[in-house]
């Protein structure tokens, strides 16, 4: 298959994300990553002017957000330096997020490559099925690490498959061990999920036929070069690397557990339900993706048991399984919706696309080819439509999205599912605050951290004179984000403000997301 379709898929995804990013609020973690990117950008400027000073000062500029490696932050900073600080071409947030769009486009490219091994239709359907859900579409907009590591998981899969000769295609510079080492190095330098990839590749190698197994085991040592990329892209490691590596590993092996609302229970500590990640996917994604993804996973497992699984499909199964396995253990932190195991969804999509195509072709039987093609187009549209509707209906409130199995947002609220997270939905009430809050008003933004608040000021989404209050007692307005574990904040606000009547809010399909209170007598107060 030519690379035209993967390129086309990548371009469509990039353009779609670029065009729809503006209303996406700054999630809590982005607040930290924006700050980290600012620090990295200052370091890059220093590097350009005084390289030795920059090398000496890595601790000063890179210690912030030490728990994540450097590559993504370096890209956020470089993008901002080029497109905003230098060319004044993009707003701050858009340039920080640009590398995120790029990684999403790479994911589309690699999913199309994998899907393309089945058919041309699957080359388009695999990325389309992945991105046509509000949850995945939303995550692809962020200057964060979840979609980048998902993309690089697929990228490592493709690079590995090419390196060991199980992915047909013309030999190129991007088909050998060095390329695999580079892609895996990038994954390592983006997020710690990459630690799980070598074991998956080793297990995959063990399952291969003898000749391919030999090639695989002779390819594996290339991965030993990958930490060079981690080291090069993360200047924090340039001084005292053992300490910083230790801090990085310790942070994630001792990560705190945040409360998470799940089927009417507030999960706070292990053991978590074994089926947690699968159950959350089932209720959060649109029904076609749930059905096709589940069928794809089951068929891959069934074919594995029947020893009827080709090397590439085995690799997809291994990468998907490796992405979700830690979250089935019951001890790994489970907060963050589906973002931590996005690669599980992504790597099932090529098989899901094939299933969809087969189903349509079987249903249309012996009708002429042009009718079958039309039927396939209709089938694809039917499969993608619920997700497209979810995006049209809910974007940019991606962490609130639920699918048909939950009964959409209202059903999920009744089931007792996490309403939202990361505080980005606050964008919905910023225009109201800008219009009503008196000059210098103090606003309690609840889950919005001070870093994201600064980003809203910087972007102009929030009026520059509006101040950040530390609690309702200290505020004139309060923008409360509905979380089960923060229910105490609302009566606290009533007590402080002397009113129980909200001034405005964000209600998606009647389900409260953000509720704004104003002290009586202030503009906008009921």
């Amino acid at each position: 298959m030519s690379r035209r379709l993967p390129f086309a898929a990548a371009v469509v995804v990039f353009v779609a994300l670029f065009a729809t990013a503006a209303p996406v609020g700054f999630v809590r973690d982005e607040g930290y990553y924006f700050e980290a990117a600012k620090s990295c950008e200052a370091w890059l400027v220093l590097l350009l002017h005084d390289p030795f000073a920059a090398i000496r000062a890595t601790e000063q500029y890179w210690s912030y957000n030490f728990e994540h490696p450097g590559l993504a932050k370096l890209l956020f900073a470089s993008s901002h330096l080029a497109f905003t600080s230098t060319l004044h071409f993009l707003p701050d947030a858009q340039s920080w997020r640009l590398p995120g769009f790029f990684f999403a486009a790479l994911l589309a490219f690699w999913l199309a490559v994998l899907g393309g091994q089945r058919s041309r239709a699957c080359a388009l359907l695999a990325p389309a099925l992945f991105f046509c859900t509000e949850r995945t579409f939303f995550h692809a907009h962020l200057a964060a690490f979840d979609v980048p590591i998902c993309a690089l998981t697929a990228g490592v899969g493709v690079a590995w498959a090419r390196a060991i000769g199980i992915l047909p295609g013309s030999p190129s510079r991007m088909s050998g061990g060095p390329w695999l080492a580079f892609v895996y190095g990038c994954a390592l330098a983006v997020k710690h999920n990459a630690w799980l990839l070598p074991p998956v590749l080793v297990v995959h190698a063990l399952f291969l036929p003898a000749a391919a197994r030999r090639r695989a085991f002779s390819t594996l040592p290339w991965l030993l070069l990958s930490p060079l990329i981690l080291f090069a892209a993360w200047p924090l490691l340039w001084h005292d690397p053992v300490k910083h590596l230790g801090d990085w590993i310790a942070f994630h092996t001792h990560h705190v557990h945040y409360a998470w609302y799940y089927f009417g229970r507030e999960l706070r500590a292990p053991p978590f339900p074994v089926v947690y990640p699968l159950a959350v996917l089932a209720v959060a994604l649109p029904l076609p993706q749930v059905v096709l993804g589940a069928a794809a996973g089951l068929r891959l497992l069934w074919d594995l048991l029947r020893r009827n699984l080709g090397a590439l499909r085995l690799l997809e199964l291994g990468l998907a399984g490796g992405a979700v396995l830690p979250f089935l253990l019951g001890t790994t932190p489970i907060f963050g919706g589906i973002k931590h195991w996005l690669a599980f969804v992504a790597l099932l999509m090529p098989e899901a696309a094939a299933l969809l195509e087969e189903t349509v072709r079987t249903a249309t039987g012996a009708v002429p080819w042009h009718t079958r093609t039309r039927a396939l187009a209709a089938g694809a549209l039917a499969a993608l439509l619920p997700g497209l509707w979810q995006i049209a209906h809910l974007h940019p409130y991606g962490t609130s999205a639920y699918g048909e199995l939950a009964g959409d947002l209202p059903g999920a609220a009744s089931l007792g599912m996490q309403r939202q997270y990361w505080s980005n939905n606050v964008t919905s009430v910023l225009p109201w605050l800008n219009a009503h809050a008196p000059r210098g008003a103090r606003v309690f933004f609840h889950e919005v951290n001070v870093e994201s608040y600064r980003a809203y000021l910087q972007s102009g989404a929030l009026r520059a004179d509006i101040r950040y209050a530390s609690g309702p007692w200290d505020a004139e307005y309060a923008a409360l984000q509905w979380h089960r574990e923060f229910r105490d904040r609302e009566p606290e606000t009533w007590n402080a403000f002397g009113t129980k009547m909200p001034a405005t809010g964000l209600y998606l399909d009647e389900v409260p997301q953000v509720v704004v209170y104003a002290r009586p007598g202030l503009p906008g107060a009921p």
């Binding site: 959409d408 574990e485 105490d488 009647e510």
Partner: protein, 212 residues
């Protein structure tokens, strides 16, 4: 049908709090367990339900009200909303000992109650009857299971009427604990004292006296 003193609105599903934007005439309640919920001083509850919402469970809400002896009035429909008055036939409140000026969250439901600093006590005068005491730890600290219980001792004119233990909440056990005890007739000085080994938890108490 018109609202009158002693009326409250109970929204259903309990998450449908957008209603707060529009309801001014009567207090809005978001109780999750309509069979067990206390409605002290409330004669009639208006069940305001989103009947077209998926998984709304309004049928179960009605069952729960019926199970506590409430009787339904005429149901009115406004688009996707249904409004139905329910006479609670509850006991008459003779005195509220803690008032309802402030509210705090216990078990994820907002409760009219007063904060008691641990260890701490408060007292109030009231008539004899059935004394109802409710107590719970506010917020997420209620779920810190490594902590000890809070003990609540209830006295009337110096005599112990009862004790209530509020352990850390481990669902499905409730965090909002109940004590209902008879108090001898006549004017009484009620004292409620709360103590715990660790004292850095917001603790909330509600108490009232009814005729039965």
């Amino acid at each position: 049908m018109r609202a009158k003193p002693g009326d409250e609105v109970q929204i259903w599903p309990p998450w449908a709090e957008r209603a707060r934007l529009f309801i001014e005439a009567v207090p809005v309640r978001t109780e999750e367990d309509l069979r067990a919920a206390d409605y002290p001083g409330v004669d009639r509850v208006w069940l305001l339900a989103l009947t077209r919402s998926p998984r709304n469970g309004v049928g179960k809400a009605r069952e729960a009200l019926r199970a506590r002896g409430a009787t339904a009035g005429e149901r009115v429909r406004f688009g996707s909303l249904e409004l139905e008055p329910w006479e609670l036939h509850g006991p008459r409140v003779l005195a509220g000992l803690t008032g309802s000026r402030e509210e705090h969250e216990v078990d994820y439901v907002s409760r009219p109650c007063v904060l008691v600093r641990l260890p701490g006590r408060f007292s109030a005068r009231g008539p004899g009857g059935i004394l109802h005491v409710r107590a719970g730890i506010v917020g997420e600290r209620a779920y810190q299971t490594f902590r000890g219980p809070v003990r609540v001792e209830v006295r009337a004119d110096g005599s112990v009427l009862g004790e209530l233990t509020v352990p850390p909440t481990e669902p499905p056990a409730p965090g909002w604990r109940k004590l209902d005890v008879p108090a001898p007739a006549g004017d009484r000085l009620y004292e409620i004292a709360a103590s715990a080994s660790d004292t850095d938890r917001p603790f909330c108490v509600a108490a009232w006296v009814t005729d039965r």
